[in-house]
Subunit: 197 residues, 3 copies
């Protein structure tokens, strides 16, 4: 097995932080107006700007598409490559195939008021992802050099909502220091102890 | 590049919560008895019921399949569409193909006691997901209108276990308020101060 | 609909933990030197060893590939199956296809100094995953019997970095206990109260 000697090729560099943290949650909705049937929209800079504006230094972000025909994926923002991706998706899930989902004579309610024949869009989505969770370090998404986060429109043009959940970690300043001062003050019978202020 | 003007089409609505939270973890196992070789089982209502029953108001849920031939995916619970999905998976990973994994004469131990010729099931799984992480808001999964969470059986019928990890955030009431009251009571020499109760 | 009776087949076993936790973050980089164009490298034991060495008992790990041609996936570490996976990926995204991304005459900068004709590698990655988030229980990844975590090299050999983000939960010992003791001691006028020690 090729993988048998894997352990010898793995090096782990730990960068432990020993402090304890409280969590601060925040949410945001990213509204995107897409223009094309299949389209890759780079969200990376917009999310990094939000991290900076709100000083979210350490934590993670969950980037969650609220749609069944729009996905979230990480890959490279290279124009020709995005054309390759569109071609791949159309080859694996051809729009011209007959999809049961497109047979409105057999569909049961509820049916969306703006429903289109989009069986291929759902099938493409099944092969992609609804969300990505990305660590945040030093007020930035901890992405590699070539990684960008995309909303992948599969049934556009449409208005899309991307839900952003920011989990921020804040250093916990335990109250014990103050308490101990209080106890000392009491035990010493010293009301004017600096510890009491 | 189509995406060049993307930033002008993005609108971000922040909904910041400024409170600090402690984390409360809880786990649950969802046991599912599947009935068909390929089957989509909607878990959404069962998970929402758990959130309500345990008053898990804000946080997230990781929904994790403990299997290599059963996946977790989010898509629409439309009966005809689920037939399209099954057809797509069988087209990309035909069960009748010759899979090395099915050649028991070459397989090394350990081999599962209930092992079946299921190379196609593993291949389907490679194209799907082992887990989804979904934010929780107001005691509900923060899903879009048409989104449902499915366990996707790829080698049924089988008994399956879905691991649920609930991360709940609880407002941190810092102890300082009480301490300050105590200090005030002490400093004032007033034992019956309301702050001391 | 097959799924109509699903709820009757679902059993949920809750295992609630009622304690409140602070978060301790830590990061690590796993460096992997891959040897083959397409290769599955099992990271499971290396990550479990780190959990044990750093006594990370409860929490989760996000295993994040910092690359657009190397993925993270969970499946079974069976030698013949890994050959099936490689064959599937080459069938869905044939390396010999003409990819726009490989046409250097049309590519705009920036272009990586070590750039190769790897359109197929990016396309394979689009069908896989950049990361997995896995719960940690009792100092181990909470994986099922046959589940292993792989770095999936799609454009090797290369040196790869896998970012590991450990989110550990530590029981929060609220300061209130000590305070209450202090208050009792004060109210009782008893300086030698055991509660004050």
């Amino acid at each position: 097995m090729d993988e048998s000697s894997a352990s010898s090729r793995l090096t782990l560099r730990p960068t432990l932080s020993q402090s304890r943290h409280l969590v601060m949650l925040s949410n945001a909705i990213l509204e995107v107006a897409t223009k094309h049937p299949i389209e890759f929209i780079d969200l990376t800079e917009r999310i990094n700007a939000h991290l900076r504006a709100h000083e979210i230094e350490h934590g993670e972000v969950t980037i969650f598409s609220r749609h069944t025909t729009a996905a979230i994926k990480i890959n490279e923002a290279e124009e020709l490559l995005l054309e390759d991706f569109k071609r791949l998706l159309r080859r694996l899930c051809p729009p011209e195939h007959g999809y049961h989902h497109n047979d409105m004579s057999r569909r049961k309610p509820p049916i969306a008021v703006d429903e289109r024949p989009n069986g291929h869009s759902h099938c493409m989505h099944l092969l992609l992802s609804t969300s990505e969770t990305i660590p945040v370090i030093d007020t930035r998404l901890a992405l590699g050099t070539w990684q960008r986060v995309f909303l992948v429109e599969l049934d556009g043009p449409r208005r899309r909502e991307v839900f952003l959940r920011f989990t921020q970690y804040l250093r916990h300043q335990p109250a014990r220091v103050i308490e101990t001062a209080a106890l000392n003050g009491y035990q010493n019978g010293n009301r004017s102890s600096r510890g009491l202020r």
